[in-house]
Every structure is written in structure tokens, then in C-alpha cells.
């Protein structure tokens, strides 16, 4: 069953009176429970695709269907509701509210949301459970400047998961992390995916992409190809090798 689909999606920017077609008639379907990686050269439109299909950015034409609705037709408030309750976001830069502790940053969307009619105490318990699961419970009361990048990104994952979203969008979630932190973050994202969360992720890293179930390759605003592992139970190293071979064929 498709959780999100894009039909003839176009995005055009006008810069200095010059038209720049960033996305050109993109058609895309993502099934529930999938973990889709989006790859491509710099400036190919990867992040723009992620922002357009998540409703964070306006599309120029086409449609994006999520939850049986064309989200390009939704109002700003309806889109906010959607992002708050049904979508989660993780960015390369680990943005958080600088005056709040890590725990409060994670708790914030839950307090703002009216999706679940549970008490503040229960919301707190849920946030702590998420932190425990992601291995960052010990930094709950820390300020954002007191923790490492990997911990902060895991806190961002926890924040994105607090309202049990149907889908998680990640824009280069490991882009600013070292190898060890990258691995930890990806382990957590894979665990979430195993538990049923759909994930769409932009990445430059083939190692990271190799952990996805499907990889889309974007070139010049269009999906130039897509790769799906024939056998998902392959060793990670083997997956990386296969993907690298495919990527080289794509001109990576």
C-alpha cells in the first residue's frame, strides 16, 4: 500500500529572472514500511524532492498524495498539522531550540500536538522511553551545547518520532557526523524502519544508502534510476558492493 506518491511533480525556481527547473515531472511511489534512499550528484534536486513531497516546500505543478489527500492543495495550517502529527523530520544540521534542554526539545512537539489525549506525565514517559531506546537518556537534562553531534542527531530522531509519525523524512542525517556516530544513527533509523516506520532519506553516502530497501538516483531533476536489493538479507558489505556497482553504472 502506498503511503505517499508524487505524480508529475515539478518544481521551478526563478532566480534573477531565470527559470531553474529543479524537479521535472517526477513520479514516485513509496510503500508503507519502506526505507527509501535518495541519491544523486550535488544540485540534482534530492533535497528539493524531499521537501516537496513532505509538503515543506510548495510544488510548481503535479500532485503529492499523502493520506489520500493531495497535500499540495492543503492550507499552511493543515500542512503544519500534518507535519506535527503524521510526519517526522531529521536534518543534516541538528537544529534545536537553544533555550530548552534535550528532553524538552524532544517533548516539545508532543506537548504542542493534540493527536493523543494523554497526560503530560505520559508524554514525558514516552519521551524518556524514546531516549532510552536511542541510548541518550543520560543527556536528558543537558543543554544542546553540552552533547556530541551524534547524541544531538539521535535526540533529533527522538523528537521526530515523539508523535508516532507515519513517515520520517531525513535530509542527510549523517552528513555532519563522524563514522561511528553515523553508524549509530543509521542503526537507530534501521531499527525504527524494522518496527514499521516508513523512512525517506537523502544521502551522499553509499554506505548509508546501502541500508535502505530501495534507492532512487536523481539526475538533473528527474529519477534516472532506482535500485532494489533482490535479497534484503544480504550482508551489509555485499549490499554496499552491489550498490556501488550500480551507482558507478549510473555515473556516480
Amino acid at each position: 500500500m502506498n503511503i505517499i506518491e508524487a505524480n508529475n511533480l515539478c518544481k521551478t525556481y526563478i532566480v534573477d529572472k531565470r527559470q531553474n527547473n529543479v524537479l521535472k515531472n517526477v513520479n514516485l511511489r513509496v510503500e508503507k514500511g519502506e526505507m527509501v534512499g535518495i541519491m544523486g550528484p550535488s544540485g540534482s534536486g534530492k533535497s528539493t524532492l524531499l521537501y516537496c513531497i513532505s509538503g515543506m516546500d510548495k510544488i510548481t505543478s503535479g500532485e503529492v498524495i499523502f493520506d489520500h489527500k493531495d497535500i499540495s492543495q492543503l492550507s499552511k495550517n493543515e500542512l503544519s498539522e500534518l507535519r506535527l502529527n503524521k510526519m517526522g523530520f531529521i536534518f543534516q544540521q541538528m537544529f534545536m531550540m537553544k533555550n530548552l534542554s534535550i528532553l524538552d526539545n524532544i517533548l516539545l512537539p508532543s506537548v504542542e500536538s493534540k493527536k493523543e489525549t494523554i497526560s503530560r506525565k505520559e508524554k514525558l514517559a514516552k519521551a524518556e522511553a524514546l531516549m532510552r531506546k536511542l541510548g541518550i537518556i543520560e543527556i536528558a537534562d543537558n543543554d544542546i551545547n553540552e552533547v556530541s553531534g551524534g547524541q544531538l542527531q539521535r535526540a533529533c530522531i527522538a523528537r521526530s518520532m515523539i508523535n508516532n509519525p507515519d513517515i520520517l523524512f531525513a535530509d542527510e542525517p549523517t552528513g555532519a557526523l563522524n563514522r561511528q556516530s553515523s553508524k549509530e544513527v543509521m542503526d537507530e533509523l534501521c531499527k525504527l524502519n524494522d518496527e514499521g516506520t516508513t523512512i525517506m532519506m537523502v544521502t551522499h553516502d553509499a554506505k548509508v544508502a546501502a541500508r535502505c530497501t530501495r534507492i532512487l538516483y536523481i539526475v538533473d531533476g528527474q529519477i534516472a534510476g532506482e535500485y532494489k536489493f533482490a535479497n534484503n538479507k544480504l550482508e551489509q558489505k555485499e549490499k554496499e558492493r552491489l550498490l556501488n556497482t550500480w551507482l558507478m553504472d549510473m555515473g556516480w
Binding site: R83, S101, L108
Partner: protein, 790 residues
């Protein structure tokens, strides 16, 4: 190379640089005009009096310059007098002056008509130039007279007395140092010498309608006072310059409000400048780090930023300097209508003010760029806007709180950035406190709580100058009693039985401790002494007992129980001081004498209003109805309720109301400026946070509300604090002013609704509204901006 970096920097950070420029323009404008105003106001009345030639001692007498005992005969015989100037005037009543339509002119007290060409005192036109001539058939007037009669240049007025009828054209207003205050508010008409001589020679039937004012220069005021008291029996006013100065207190309150406001604005400017510079330099930390990392020397980096701020500071200060002149004029506008204010320094204070702003900016910038020298490249990069910080930020715990997310974030932000919000709240509190102090003052003046300090409390008051002047002769005492009996009978016939009485004022020779003084004495006609309020001792019971004010007590060095000699005009009488009382009549320089004291109305110098006490104890509404009936009975003469009469006696209520409204308006302007500029800075600083909030699903209106609540908290704290200190502040600031006017014990009327509810709510609502409008700009920040944040 550096110039190119500088140019790029100014362009790239356009919004922040523009905000900075706006701050500097405002700071320069406030500081330059504020400094000028401070010096001008500090000079205050002295400058005005010196320019006008008011002298050190002012005396007035009945009788013309050609009569015996004229000032020109007496003053040269007093050795202590160095020089003097004399104005001859005609005392006129409302019947003397009318409009073209035949309506009576409006003014309080006696009018003085004089020849401008023969003036002893200097009178100033609207441009503060001394007016020396008025063409025949034209006239100038005091500002108050023109205002009350709505006169514009070219309007006609008729001055008539006996056979003389002068059709005069109004040429403008003149500033009068002696009667320019709200407390001494006689009005003057200035005619040509020809018109004045015609009026004096052919229109004046009674010698008492002419008088002289002398402005005396002396180093020994006390000696002149004693000598003049001895030599001039027709003296009707004798006051040292200091008394006239104290009459300007209320006008100077307005000037001091301007001064306080200027100081306030200067503080606001520097607080905000400090904040803005620190904030903008924090933004530069990363760049500073990068420059250090590539090996640029500290001094070069510092000079780059200092040059940038110097360019902005010089540009802003120059604009601010230019705008400071009209702004200064605007601030002092209401005071300078009746006073000549100035200083001999010209534009120097403005130049110093603007230079001060430039230097302060460079100083702040120099301190803020201290990081260039102290920090290593890595430190600077890490300290950058999006980098690391080493100070605990979070103060509250959302997990432990019950309030909603945006209110929580707003509270937490305020607590996490205390310095910033305390600066905002302090500025708001200061402005609000002044509004509330003025509200308390105006409410007190508009009520009837001070009526006792003018005369006894009554149901109604009315003034009939012509009638009162007609009693000022030998035998007047009998006539006034007959008149009052007739009025009482008429009132009874009209179904409103009442008792009528009036206070007459005299100047009598007083001898205390072997020193002679001429002092105003107040005596009730038709009243009994127990109707007046005394603060200490027992009311005088006969002509041998008097009550004095604390001001007189210290002037003549007499206290309760002491013996003082009073000459009621019939020879010296030994009296005992039996009580103290307080009054604002003549700034407290008055003695109350018993109704049985042997006075004669031929010596009367001035009057209070006729007072009516109804004997059938009518309700407030009935009194209001009777007021209308009385107006009809008196042929349209002004009849006043106690609060109206009190306001009339104080004279400055409209001025103070203007001050109150001006202060509120200025507070709202300050609130607007601070909120707009701070909120714009906050939005720039928090752009990534706003974007992330949107990305996680916060709606625009919630983010706007979040920003509003922060200013709401700061303003709420400010107005609560201002409300709390407003009452003691009123007593501390306005109390001494009333004290100098004769009120030794002062009780202010506090209206809780206006002080604790209405004005705080107006200021809070304004802050929220401005924060709302300014924070609408957060709508332009999109959730997808998270991708483009550095």
C-alpha cells in the same frame, strides 16, 4: 581588500545594519536633543527672568505714576535698590473687553492693560524676540488670553471704559515673565502708547483702577522689603524673585517631564545600542574565527569591524543630529508657549550629544570585539551563532510544567535571557511609572481634596469681579454685607436656602522679632473661623489671634504661642499665633485673621470667590441643578462646584492633563520603538529556530503568539512594578512641588482603576499589538528554510 570586505558585509547583513542605523539615528536624536533640553531646563526660569529683566524683587501698588507715593518717588530713596523698571497698568474687569460680536472676553482674575512702548519688563513674541512696539489700533495679549478667547492674528476685540471705545486688531501673543505661570495667571493686553494714554486719560474714572509694577534689582531683598513696606502704604504686591519662580513650579513640572523623558530616551538608546552591538558582533564570531584562522592579524580584524561601526555611527549620528532640532522643539513646545527657554550654548550640546553617541558605539564595539584578541580561531568559530555555547541556557522544565508549549517557551526564553528582557522591562517600567505619577497628580488636582487649602469647603462658588471691586472702598464692608443678605434672601425665595460668604485678601504690615514685613492676610466675610481647616493648634477666636502657614512661620520666625504685631490699617495690634494651616494661596505666604479683625475693604487687594453653603443639605444632583439656577440668577456668571473651583485655583490642571496624555503618548512611542526594533533583531537571531518550529509542525499563529507572549511578560512585569512604585513615587516626586506651593501635608487621590487597571492595560495592549504586527514577519520564514540555514 578590507574596503571590499566592508562593502560586502554592509550589503550582506542589510537588515541588521539598517536596524543598527535606525537605532543610532534615534539615539543621536534623543541624546542630542536631550542634552540641549537638560541644559535649557536647568537654566529654566532664571534664563527667562534675566532676559525679561524681572529683577530680584517685584512690587506693585495702586495709583498712577503721576500720583504721590509713585514708585519713581519712593524707589530712588531706598539705598539698597541698584536699579528698577516700572510698568504702569490699568486694572480691567471682564466688562472692559469684548469681542466684535459683543460677547464678554473670557479670563480669570484682573486684567492688566498697558503700553508696550513704555514697558519696564521685556515681553517676548513667539520667536522669543523682545516686542517693543505695537501699531495704533492693534494689540498683543498674554498667551492664555488668546487661547481662552480663541484669538487668531487679525481678530478684532473692543476695549471700552466710560467714554472710550477702542476697536483693536489682535497681532499675536507675548510671553510675560511675571504672569506667565499657571499659578499667577493674570492676563495682560499690550496697546500702543496712544491707545493706552487715551484709555487712561479718558476711560479711567477711579484712581484705584491704575497701578504700577516695579521690577527691582538689589542684593538685599530683605532690606528692600522692609523699606518698601514702610514707605509705600498703597503696596498691593511685594514678592522676591524666588516666589515668582515657585509659581512656575507646575510649568517647570512640564519641563522636568521633558527632561526626565529625555534622560529616559537617552538610557533607552544606550541600552538598545549596547544590546544591538553585542548581538551583531556575536553574529560575526564565526567570521572572526575564520579570519584569525587564515592568519589575519587581530588589529586588522578589529579595525575592520570598528570601521564598519564607525561608518554606520557617523551616518546615523549625522541624521540624528539634524532631526534633534525639530525634536527638541517638539518636546519643549508646550512649555515655550508661555516661557522663553534657552541657553547660551546654541548647537554645542547637540554636537556633543551626537559625538557622544559615535564614541559610545565605538566603545561598545571595541569592548564587544574583545573576543578577537582573547579567543583562539577555534574558540571564535565555536562561539559563533550556530556553534557551541558554554553557558547553561534552559531555566525551566517543560517536562515539569503544566502550561502550554508556547507559553512555556516564552517564559523560558525570558528567564534564559534575563539581561535582555530586564532592559526592556526597565525602560517600560520607567515610562509607565511617570504616566501613573502624572495620573495620580491630575486625579488629585481634579478632585476636591485640596479645596481646604484655598478656602472653606462649600457647595458652590462664584466670582463676580465687578461686584467685588465695587466694595473696595470706605464703607464697602457694609455694602457687601447688604449684598450677601440680599443674595441669601433671593436664594431662599428660589427654594434653595443657603449661607453666603467670601474671603477678602489684604496686605498688612506684620512685625515679628522687630522685623517688619508686608504679608497677605485672608479674612472671611460672612463666615466663621470654625469653617476653615487648621493643621495644628486652635483656630483664632478674636482679632488678637491669628493663624499662620509653615511658610510664614519660617519667613517671620514665629511659631504657635508667639506674639506678632499686625497693622489692620487702624494701627498696630498685638496678636498671638494660635494655629498653623496650609494653603496654596500665594504659595503659602498668607496669614488667616479672625472675622472680627477691624479691616476695611478700601485696603482689600484681591478676593476669593463667593461661596454658598446650602442649609437644607441638598444631594449632589440637586446642587448641580442649583448651579444652573444660580448661573441664570447671576446673569451668566461662572458658578463652580468644589472640584471645578479647586482646578480653577490651581490653574494648571489642563497643563497637567496635557502632560499626562503626552507622557502616555511618549510611553507608547517608546514601547513601539523598543518592541519593533528588539523583535526585528530577535527574528533575525532566531530564524533557524522559527524554521525548525515550523518544520516540526508549529503553526504561524502559534509562533506569532510565542513571540508576543515574551514581550507580554516583559511588559506585564514592567506595569506591575510601575503600579507598585507609583504611589510612593508620586509622594517623592510631586509631594515636594506641592510642599513648595504651601502644602505641608499632602494626600494624593489614587484612582485604583486608572492606576492599576486602565493605564497598565493600555500599555500592555500596545506592546502586544506592536509585537503582533512586528512578528507577522515570521510568516515569511518557511519550514524549508532549515535547508538554507548556515
Amino acid at each position: 581588500m578590507f574596503l571590499r570586505i566592508l562593502k560586502k558585509d554592509i550589503k550582506r547583513k542589510k537588515t541588521m545594519n539598517i536596524i543598527m542605523l535606525v537605532f543610532i539615528i534615534l539615539a543621536s536624536m534623543f541624546v542630542a536633543s536631550g542634552l540641549n533640553n537638560v541644559i535649557t531646563i536647568a537654566n529654566g526660569t532664571n534664563y527667562f527672568f534675566d532676559q525679561a529683566g524681572l529683577g530680584d524683587y517685584i512690587a506693585a501698588r495702586k495709583g498712577s505714576g503721576s500720583s504721590t507715593e509713585a514708585f519713581d518717588d519712593i524707589l530712588p530713596t531706598i539705598g539698597e535698590i541698584k536699579s528698577y523698571r516700572v510698568d504702569e497698568v490699568i486694572f480691567a474687569t471682564k466688562e472692559t473687553v469684548e469681542t466684535e460680536k459683543g460677547e464678554q472676553a473670557k479670563f480669570d482674575n484682573t486684567m492688566l492693560i498697558q503700553s508696550l512702548e513704555d514697558s519696564g519688563l521685556n515681553y517676548f513674541d513667539i520667536n522669543d524676540k523682545v516686542a517693543t512696539i505695537v501699531p495704533e489700533g492693534h494689540f498683543y495679549s498674554s498667551y492664555r488670553f488668546a487661547k481662552d478667547n480663541n484669538l487668531k492674528s487679525g481678530d478684532k476685540m473692543i476695549v471700552k471704559s466710560n467714554d472710550v471705545r477702542l476697536n483693536l486688531t489682535f497681532d499675536g501673543t507675548l510671553k510675560d515673565a511675571l504672569f506667565g505661570s499657571d499659578m499667577l495667571n493674570n492676563v495682560r493686553l499690550f496697546l500702543s502708547r496712544t491707545d493706552y494714554t487715551n484709555l487712561r486719560d479718558n476711560g479711567v474714572s477711579e484712581p484705584g483702577m491704575i497701578g504700577e509694577f516695579a521690577y527691582i534689582d538689589t542684593d538685599d531683598v530683605a532690606a528692600v522689603d522692609v523699606a518698601l513696606t514702610k514707605k509705600c502704604p498703597t503696596l498691593m504686591l511685594n514678592r522676591p524673585r524666588a516666589t515668582i519662580e515657585s509659581a512656575y513650579f507646575m510649568n517647570m513640572v512640564l519641563a522636568f517631564v521633558t527632561l526626565i523623558l529625555s534622560v529616559c530616551l537617552i538610557i533607552v538608546s544606550f541600552v538598545i545600542l549596547r544590546f544591538t552591538i553585542t548581538f551583531t558582533i556575536t553574529e560575526e564570531y564565526r567570521e572572526i574565527g575564520v579570519m584569525k584562522a587564515i592568519g589575519i592579524r587581530d588589529i586588522k580584524i578589529k579595525s575592520l569591524y570598528l570601521t564598519k561601526y564607525l561608518v554606520i555611527a557617523v551616518l546615523g549620528s549625522l541624521i540624528g543630529f539634524g532631526v534633534s532640532f525639530p525634536f527638541s522643539k517638539l518636546l519643549l513646545g508646550s512649555v515655550t508657549k508661555m516661557m522663553v527657554l534657552g541657553n547660551g550654548l546654541g548647537i554645542i550640546p547637540n554636537i556633543i550629544g551626537s559625538l557622544l553617541v559615535v564614541l559610545s558605539i565605538l566603545g561598545f564595539a571595541y569592548l564587544a570585539t574583545g573576543v578577537v584578541k582573547k579567543a583562539t580561531p577555534v574558540d571564535a568559530i565555536r562561539k559563533g551563532q550556530t556553534g557551541e555555547r558554554f553557558k547553561k541556557k534552559s531555566k525551566l522544565k517543560l517536562s515539569k510544567s503544566r502550561i502550554n508549549s508556547i507559553t512555556f517557551m516564552a517564559c523560558n526564553d525570558v528567564l534564559s535571557n534575563k539581561k535582555k528582557y530586564i532592559a526592556v522591562a526597565s525602560v517600560f517600567a520607567l515610562c509607565t511609572a511617570f504616566v501613573l505619577v502624572m495620573t495620580n497628580t491630575v486625579n488629585t488636582m481634579k478632585g476636591d481634596g485640596l479645596i481646604d487649602s484655598f478656602s472653606a469647603r462649600s457647595d458652590l462658588y462664584y466670582t463676580d469681579q465687578d461686584k467685588q471691586m465695587s466694595f473696595m472702598h470706605e464703607g464697602g464692608n457694609e455694602e457687601i454685607k447688604e449684598y450677601m443678605t440680599k443674595v441669601e434672601n433671593d436664594l431662599t425665595d428660589m427654594g434653595m436656602p443657603g449661607h453666603i460668604f467670601v474671603d477678602a485678601q489684604y496686605i498688612f504690615k506684620i512685625t515679628s522679632n522687630d522685623n517688619e514685613y508686608s504679608i497677605s492676610c485672608q479674612q472671611g466675610i460672612g463666615s466663621t473661623i470654625d469653617m476653615y481647616t487648621f493643621t495644628q493648634g486652635t483656630a483664632p477666636q478674636n482679632m488678637y489671634e491669628i493663624a499662620i502657614t509653615p511658610t510664614i512661620s519660617s519667613k517671620i520666625n514665629a511659631h504657635i504661642g508667639d506674639t506678632v504685631t499686625v497693622d489692620y490699617g487702624t494701627g498696630p495690634v498685638q496678636t498671638t499665633v494660635t494655629a498653623y494651616y496650609q494653603t496654596m494661596n500665594w504659595m503659602g505666604e498668607v496669614i488667616r485673621i479672625h472675622e472680627s479683625a477691624p479691616t476695611n475693604l478700601k485696603n482689600c487687594t484681591s478676593w476669593m470667590a463667593f461661596q454658598i453653603n446650602f442649609t437644607d443639605h441638598p444631594s449632589a444632583n440637586t446642587i448641580k441643578e442649583r448651579k444652573q439656577k444660580l448661573i441664570e440668577y447671576l446673569g451668566g456668571k461662572e458658578v463652580q462646584l468644589p472640584n471645578e473651583y479647586q482646578a480653577d485655583c490651581i490653574g494648571v490642571v489642563p497643563t497637567m492633563e496635557t502632560v499626562q496624555i503626552s507622557l502616555l503618548a511618549i510611553t507608547l512611542v517608546v514601547v513601539t520603538l523598543v518592541v519593533v526594533l528588539m523583535e526585528r533583531s530577535f527574528i533575525i537571531d532566531e530564524k533557524n529556530e522559527i524554521a525548525i518550529l515550523k518544520a516540526v509542525g508549529f503553526k504561524d499563529r502559534r509562533i506569532i503568539l510565542y513571540h508576543m507572549i515574551r514581550f507580554g511578560i516583559a511588559t506585564l512585569v514592567a506595569v506591575i512594578f510601575a503600579g507598585a512604585i507609583s504611589i510612593p513615587l508620586t509622594y517623592a516626586t510631586i509631594g515636594p512641588i506641592f510642599l513648595s506651593m504651601g502644602m505641608s501635608t499632602m494626600k494624593f487621590i489614587i484612582d485604583p482603576l486608572s492606576v492599576f487597571v486602565m493605564y497598565p492595560l493600555i500599555i500592555l495592549a500596545a506592546a502586544l499589538l506592536i509585537a503582533f504586527i512586528t512578528s507577522l514577519i515570521t510568516k515569511t520564514i518557511k519550514s524549508s528554510d532549515t535547508a538554507s540555514i548556515e
